[in-house]
C-alpha cells in the first residue's frame, strides 16, 4: 500500500493525462462524428457512400493499430507531433464512427409516424424537425453517447502503451519499480478508472430509464 501512497502525485499526474485525453479526444470525436452522421443521412449519395466506407473501415481497425500508426508511422511520414497529441488524434479518429452510429440510431429511432403526424396537422419542414423529431432523437441519443465516452475512457489506456504517460503507463512504471506490491498498485489504477466509468454508467442508465419514450 505504501507504494501507492508514495507515488500519489505520480498517479494524479497520470489521472490528469487520462482526463485530458478523454476530454479533448471526446470533443474532437463528437465534431467528426456529427459530420460523418450528417453525411450518412444526407440525400447526397456520394457523401453517404463516403461516410459508410469511413465508418466500416475505421470501426473494424483495432485501436492498437491506430495508435501504433500515430506513434511509429506518423514520425516516419514526417510528422513532428508529440506522442500525446498524436494519441489524441488517433483516439478521436477511432471514436468518431461510434459517435456517428449513436447519433444516427437516435435519429432513425424516432418512428416515422411521428413525422407523418406532424405533417398531417400542417407542420412545415422546420416545425416537423425542430419541434417533433429532434427533441425525441436527442433523448434517445444521449445514453448511447455516454456509453461511447465510457468506452473512450477505457480506450485511453492503450495510449499508455505508446509513450503517453497516463494512468495505465503510471501503473506499469510503478509496478515495475515495486514488484512486491503489484496487486495494490494496479488496483489503485483500476480505482481511478472506475472513478470515471461507474458514475458515467449510472448516469447513462438513469437517463435511459427517465428519458426513454414510452410507446
Amino acid at each position: 500500500m505504501d507504494a501507492v501512497i508514495d507515488n500519489l502525485p505520480f498517479y494524479l499526474e497520470g489521472f490528469g493525462m487520462t482526463l485530458l485525453l478523454l476530454v479533448v479526444s471526446g470533443i474532437a470525436a463528437l465534431v467528426i462524428g456529427t459530420l460523418i452522421a450528417a453525411m450518412r443521412i444526407s440525400p447526397v449519395p456520394s457523401l453517404r457512400w463516403f461516410a459508410t466506407g469511413y465508418t466500416e473501415i475505421v470501426r473494424n481497425t483495432p485501436l492498437t493499430l491506430v495508435l501504433f500508426f500515430c506513434a511509429f508511422v506518423l514520425p516516419v511520414l514526417g510528422s513532428r507531433l508529440d506522442y500525446a497529441t498524436a494519441a489524441i488524434i488517433g483516439l478521436s479518429v477511432y471514436t468518431s464512427p461510434f459517435v456517428a452510429e449513436a447519433l444516427r440510431s437516435g435519429v432513425n429511432g424516432v418512428p416515422v409516424g411521428q413525422a407523418e403526424a406532424a405533417r398531417s396537422v400542417g407542420f412545415g419542414f422546420s416545425q416537423t424537425v425542430g419541434l417533433i423529431v429532434l427533441p425525441q432523437a436527442f433523448r434517445m441519443t444521449i445514453p448511447p453517447l455516454i456509453n461511447v465516452f465510457i468506452a473512450l475512457t477505457k480506450n485511453t489506456s492503450v495510449a499508455g502503451g505508446f509513450f503517453v504517460v497516463e494512468l495505465f503507463a503510471v501503473g506499469r512504471i510503478v509496478a515495475n519499480a515495486r514488484g512486491d506490491q503489484v496487486i495494490a498498485i494496479l488496483l489503485a489504477v483500476a480505482t481511478f478508472y472506475l472513478l470515471i466509468t461507474v458514475p458515467l454508467g449510472l448516469l447513462a442508465a438513469r437517463l435511459e430509464r427517465r428519458w426513454v419514450v414510452q410507446r
Binding site: 456520394s46 466500416e56 473494424n60 483495432p62 449513436a102 485511453t156 478508472y193
Partner: protein, 301 residues
Amino acid sequence: MTSVLFDAPGPVARRNSLIASVVGAVAILAGIAWLYFVLNAPRGDLPGYFDPSRWEPFTEPLVWQRLITVGVWGTLSAALTASVFAIALGIVFSLLRSAQTAWIRIPTAIVLEFVRGMPVLLMMLFILLVLNTGSFWAVVAALTLYNGALIGEALRAGLAALPKGQREAGLSLGMRPMQSKMLIEFPQAFRQMLPIIIAQLVVLLKDTSLGYIVGYVELLRVSMNQLASFYGNYYLFSFFIVALVLYLTMNLTLSWFARWVARRTQRRTGMKAPNPDEENEELLRAKAIAESKQTPQGGIL
C-alpha cells in the same frame, strides 16, 4: 426518414441533389488523390511510399509464411480460445446475475460492474504480473473476463425479454425451474441474442491486438516489430498497410457474418433480431426491458 419530413423532391431538388453528389464525389476523389501524391512524393533521396522497391519483402514467401502462420494464427488462436471461454462464462454470469438469492445476485452485479468499468489492457497487465501466466493466457483470460461480462448481460436481457408464458408452460409440464431455464428459455434467448454475441466477438477479435502491448506474439507484433525491424524503417509503411489489410479482412468477414446471422434470425423467428450495427443501443434497450421486468418473484434458479 428524410422523405416524410418534406414533400417528395421535384425535378429542381433532384437536380440539385445530383449536382451536390457529383461535387462531393469530385472533392472526395481529389482528397484521396492528394493523399496518394503526398505519400508517393520522393522523400529526400528516397523514393515515395508506393515505389516498388518499398514492397520488395513481400515477394519473399518466407515473409508471408511468418505473417500467416505466426501472426494471423497468433491472433486467431487467442481470439478463438477466448471466444469459447467468454460464451461459457457469459452463460454462468447470466445465471448468477438473475439468481433468486440476493447473496448470489448482488455480489455478481458488483463484480460485473467492476469488470465492465476497467480497461481490458489493465486486466491483461494484472493477470500477467500477478498470476504469472505468460502472455498468451494473460490475453485470453482478460478477454474472457471482459467479454464474458458483456455476453452475460446480453443473455440476461434476452432471458428477461422472453414471453412469460414460455417459463409457465415449462413449469406446468412438471419441469423444475432449472430444467425449464436450460431446456426452454436459454436456447431461445441465445438464438435471439446471437447477433449481439457475434458482434461482441468482433470486438474481442480486435482487442487481441492489445496483446502487442503485453508482449504476446500476434499479427501486430509479428508484422510491425519482428518483420519491420528486421527489414528496416524503409519498409515500415508497407508493413503497416499489409497488417491493416489483414486485420480488416478478418474483422470485416466476422462483421459481415454477424449481419447475415441477424437477417437469418429475423427471417426464421419472425421477431426483430437486434442489429449488430447498433449493438450499444440495442443492448441498452434490452437491459432496460430486463430491469423493468425484474420483479421480486420473477427471478428463479
